[in-house]
């Protein structure tokens, strides 16, 4: 099967809930994703305003040979791209931070700081996302788009097909959910309304 056709098929399978196709998707999309990741990273570093959705769209058009015109398919693609980005980064972070990941005590540790610490946080977050995926699939996707891919609020809302405020609220909830699990001691006295 030609790559474009195969990606389409895999995307459909993935959006229908078949996670077993992720590996294959990962391999097919990775080269383009690396370039995208690089562009996003530089945008973030230099505070450039660069249309991530445009970049994503470019990757989409290239990968799928411009065949797919339906927005639903495109949205699936972005979600898959974010998932793949997460995996790309986490595989790398795991290789870098050799020590076993344990939740870090105290929220101070999660302040933006040394990149080694950032990588540890990313690995810790990643380990919780599978559970989040089961409970709140939308939140998980937003975390992937915002945190791992570096999309802006507006871009995230656009590719998730959600109103901006809704997306922001969900991201805030997702962060809180993750934060509580990563910092059990500071959070144990709090009720877990969001975990229902």
């Amino acid at each position: 099967m030609e790559p474009a056709g195969e990606i389409t098929r895999l995307l459909h399978a993935w959006s229908a809930g078949d996670r077993s196709v992720e590996d294959r998707l990962f391999r097919l999309v990775l080269p383009d994703l690396r370039n995208l990741a690089r562009a996003l990273m530089r945008r973030e570093r230099r505070d450039h305003t660069l249309q991530a959705s445009a970049l994503l769209n470019e990757a989409y058009v290239r990968l799928l040979a411009g065949r797919q015109r339906d927005w639903e398919g495109r949205r699936h693609f972005y979600a898959v791209a974010a998932r793949i980005m997460r995996r790309l980064l986490i595989d790398h972070a795991r290789a870098r931070t050799k020590s076993a990941m344990i939740p870090i005590q105290g929220s101070r540790d999660f302040l933006p700081g040394a990149s080694g610490k950032d990588l540890e946080t990313a690995v810790a977050v990643d380990s919780l996302l599978d559970e989040l995926q089961l409970r709140h699939p939308d939140w998980c996707s937003i975390v992937e788009l915002k945190y791992f891919m570096g999309l802006t609020d507006e871009e995230t809302a656009e590719v998730s097909g959600l109103p901006l405020r809704t997306m922001q609220r969900q991201f805030s909830d997702a962060r809180r959910w993750l934060f509580e699990r990563l910092n059990p001691t500071t959070c144990e006295t709090q009720s877990n309304a969001t975990n229902a």
Binding site: L111, A122, Y147, G150, F179
Partner: protein
């Protein structure tokens, strides 16, 4: 959510009131927003910023483990500069560690001509740039530089870690930076971004520090676009000369300005403060500073420095470029003019000093500019004067090492390079001065006219005229010495090894003969014996005799000569055990007996006594090399360079040492240095050419060899050039060089068979056969004369093989291999013979335990295409290509 963000932006304490006001009558909204605000405070920005910026690997053109350009195995990232990522890497083709500097993604992936120029700079204190390559990556075509891998920390890191440097260390490092910078400037290469972060400090094996300047010419990279101008200023503003702010181009003078800042930082840990802060200190750039920025912004306070350093730094930091030091060498001179007296003299016990061997300079050094004095061979008119040549040799011995920066080039070097005028001495030997001596021998009476001449101006500094009795040549020697010491205001020396005047003529003549070449001992011995007879109380003739006997012993492997050497040495030692010539002979004897440890001890003592003697350092280094103590050998060769930094001979020895170890980059650097110091020396260009050839850089190799042949047409040079053409399959050129080598030199079997090979490839089979026949006849007579010489037999076999006398060829090569399997030349020759005879099995058997260098060389040889495609051969090649 905007409400939450707005609430978080409120001053502490006012938040509650703000929310009450905003939420009005909606208690649910108030409760939700309050809770969210509370949580946001607690999470303190958790996950609010994307983690993607932490993944620097995304921005890397290469990944550890990648093999790029088919030869460089990428290792760890070792740094990031303004220009790109720096990796450690392994060059699998040349088996060496390199550093790779890439152009960063998005930085256009190109490298400018300045970088190409920087590649030409070869100096111990300049990071050697090897080459430019490009590789395909998923970012597109990426150009990258390979350079010498240097393990160490930057000068700025050192100062950051350990604070200002002690003055002595700062002096050492400053001198080294000056030396490297001076060399680059002489070659017209400007650094442009010199700063503490561009100096790498690494340890020498003996515990010293080597300072290496990196990123020569790379400044051009960081100023190629607007973004980069700003980056550059952010990093190196402190080091920028005033004129650069007025958009003047970078220059040697702006490099010297930066050097002044570096020296200040080394000594105090800080850049010198400006007398008046510029108004735009925070955001200064070439855009914002006025072109005519007042000079006062650039005046710096250097009051913290001690008096000696103040002048050095001030001389660098002058506002106008033309007021600064004229060159890096001038900075060295300024630094050195305050050098404290040398310590090694103090290490010699007072009692020993009285009976010290050799000759010593005592007391403080006289400062002075560097001098390279070439002693030209003495010209004699009238009756022959056999002692004349030895006189020059002995004079050179006496004068060398008179003070730091005073180099004496012995007459043997002048003669070898056909130097007989001040002009030639300048162009070939880079001599600043010559001593020329004319003697008119009128039957026992010598009319002498001598002068020390400045080779730049042709002006004589000092002259000597006088008449001497021929038997009193020792008196002449003293007078000539005084002429030189007078010309350069050198301190008088204290000769400890005294030799009677009567013995002097024979001694100097013997010494001259001994040093002429490797096989001149026979001629030298009678003179030295005579000298010993005439003055049996001096150690000098006996030490020289011991050396002469050892030369014989080494060539003939005869124990008889070894015994005689021992006897002479014992006698010399009984007269003066602690003299440099005696110690060198003693060490040499031990070395030939394989007692390298003890030899090294003797040599070490000799260099203590005569630290300016390149001979002594070189022998010590050789002893260390024999002991497999490569680090110490390297350190010692470096001392030889330091002993006479402008003299090419130690660079050659050191380079050969590296070449034997297959450390081509290092060897190349040293050989290139030879071609800079002595541009007219054919040998230097030839060594460089052969090295480049070994690295398979054939066009460059050919250029170097052509230069060499143009300077001096010798048989080996012509042969090497022919071999190179042959390797490139340019058989007509090869034939021409081989034929030329036979016409300028004596007939040689190998020469004829080379020529035969070239004709064979050209399809001129008649000519080929004629030459093979000539080769066969000569080789046969060589074999008859030396039946146990395996190489002669292998040459014979080769000619026979191409004359279709397979059986004989087979027999001869089998004999050769039995006698000399360990001789790489024989083994190589055997491969060609066996391939010509189509005995593949035997070829492979010969190669099975061959040195890898040979297999690699054969793998490139155009003659052996069929062998190269043999899977068994490829196996041999692959086994060795795998990294240890």
């Amino acid at each position: 959510m905007t409400l939450v963000a707005a609430a978080l932006a409120q001053e502490p304490g006012t938040c509650e009131g703000f929310l009450h006001a905003e939420c009005g009558e909606d208690p649910d909204l108030y409760a939700e927003v309050t809770e969210r605000v509370e949580w946001e405070r607690r999470m303190a920005g958790f996950l609010s910023r994307s983690v993607i910026t932490s993944f620097e690997f995304l921005d890397r053109p290469f990944e550890p483990g990648d093999l790029i350009a088919d030869r460089f195995r990428i290792g760890d990232e070792i740094g990031r500069g303004g220009m790109g990522v720096v990796y450690e890497a392994f060059d699998e083709k040349l088996n060496r560690r390199v550093a790779i500097k890439s152009a960063q993604a998005g930085y256009d992936h190109w490298l400018p001509p300045e970088v190409r120029a920087a590649r030409e700079v070869s100096h111990f204190n300049v990071c050697k740039v090897h080459d430019l390559h490009s590789a395909r990556t998923d970012l597109g075509e990426v150009e990258f530089l390979t350079m010498e891998f240097i393990e160490g920390e930057t000068l700025s890191a050192r100062i950051h870690r350990a604070g200002p440097l002690p003055a002595e260390q700062a002096r050492d490092i400053a001198r080294q930076i000056c030396a490297g910078l001076g060399q680059a400037h002489r070659q017209g290469v400007i650094h442009g971004d010199l700063k503490c972060g561009n100096i790498i400090l690494t340890h020498t094996p003996e515990g010293g520090t080597r300072a290496v300047i990196t990123d020569f010419g790379l400044a051009a990279l960081s100023v190629a676009g607007e973004q980069r101008v700003l980056n550059r200023l952010a990093g190196s503003l402190d080091y920028m000369a005033p004129e650069l702010f007025a958009r003047a181009p970078v220059s040697a003078a702006s490099d010297l300005y930066a050097l002044g800042i570096i020296i200040h930082v080394m000594l105090t840990g800080r850049v010198p403060d400006p007398v008046e802060e510029p108004p735009l200190a925070e955001s200064a750039s070439t855009e914002t500073l006025p072109q005519d920025a007042p000079a006062r912004y650039f005046r710096r306070r250097v009051g913290e420095l001690g008096t000696p350093w103040k002048r050095v730094v001030c001389g660098c930091l002058k506002l106008r470029p033309e007021d600064r030091f004229g060159s890096a060498e001038e900075v060295i001179r300024q630094i050195d003019s305050y050098r404290p007296r040398r310590k090694w003299l103090m290490t010699i016990p007072a009692a020993a000093a009285v009976i010290l061997g050799s000759v010593l300079w005592l007391g403080r050094e006289m400062p002075g500019p560097p001098v390279r004095l070439a002693i030209l061979p003495v010209t004699v008119e009238g009756a022959p004067l056999p002692t004349a040549e030895g006189l020059g040799v002995e004079l050179a011995d006496r004068l060398s090492g008179a003070r730091r920066g005073f180099i004496v080039i012995p007459p043997s070097e002048s003669r070898r390079n056909r130097v007989d005028t001040p002009e030639k001495a300048k162009s070939v030997l880079a001599a600043t001065h010559v001593l020329r001596t004319r003697v008119q021998n009128g039957g026992g009476s010598l009319a002498v006219q001598a002068s020390v001449v400045d080779t730049s101006s042709g002006v004589p500094l000092q002259e000597l005229r006088g008449t001497y009795a021929a038997k009193d040549i020792a008196v002449l020697a003293k007078a000539l010495t005084a002429t030189v010491t007078g010309a350069f205001r050198l301190r008088a020396r204290v000769p400890m090894d005294v030799l009677a005047a009567a013995a002097y003529p024979a001694y100097v003549q013997g010494l001259n003969l001994l040093r002429r070449d490797e096989s001149s001992a026979d001629e030298a011995i009678p003179f030295l014996q005579q000298a010993a007879q005439l003055d049996s109380l001096s150690a000098l003739p006996y030490a020289a005799l011991a050396e002469a006997y050892l030369q014989k012993a080494r060539r003939n492997f005869g124990s008889e000569w070894m015994d005689r050497a021992s006897q002479a040495l014992t006698k010399a030692q009984s007269l003066n055990p602690d003299s440099a010539p005696v110690l060198l002979a003693a060490g040499y004897l031990k070395q030939l007996h394989g007692l390298y440890d003890e030899a090294a001890r003797d040599y070490a003592r000799a260099v203590e006594i005569a630290p300016e003697s390149v001979d002594a350092w070189n022998r010590l280094a050789l002893a260390y090399a024999s002991l497999n103590r490569a680090d110490q050998a390297i350190a010692t060769y470096q001392r030889a360079l330091q002993a006479q930094p402008d003299y090419y001979l130690p660079y050659i020895d050191f380079g050969r040492f590296y070449q034997r170890r297959l450390q081509f980059a290092e060897a190349e650097q040293l050989f290139r240095r030879v071609t800079v110091i002595a541009p007219g020396l054919a040998l230097g260009h030839m060594l460089l050419g052969l090295l480049l050839q070994q690295e398979n850089r054939l066009p460059e190799a050919e250029q170097a060899m052509l230069t060499s042949v143009r300077l001096q047409e010798t048989v080996p040079a012509l042969v090497d050039l022919g071999v190179l053409c042959y390797q490139e399959e340019r058989y007509a050129d090869a034939a021409q060089y081989f034929a030329r080598s036979l016409s300028v030199g004596p007939p040689r079997a190998v020469g004829y068979s080379d020529l035969g090979d070239a004709y064979r490839h050209l399809g001129r089979f008649e000519d080929a056969a004629t030459n093979y026949r000539a080769a066969e006849a000569l080789a046969k007579s060589d074999v008859t004369q030396n039946p146990s010489d395996p190489f002669a037999r292998s040459v014979h076999a080769y000619a026979l093989a191409y004359l279709r006398q397979g059986d004989l060829a087979n027999y001869e090569i089998a004999q050769a291999l039995v006698m000399g399997r360990d001789d790489a030349r024989v083994r190589r020759q055997a491969v060609f013979v066996l391939e010509a005879l189509q005995e593949r099995e035997q070829t492979l058997a010969v190669l099975r335990d061959a040195p890898f260098a040979l297999i690699e060389e054969l793998n490139r040889h155009p003659e052996l295409r069929s062998l190269q495609q043999d899977s068994h051969f490829q196996e041999l090649l692959n086994i060795r290509t795998v990294k240890p």
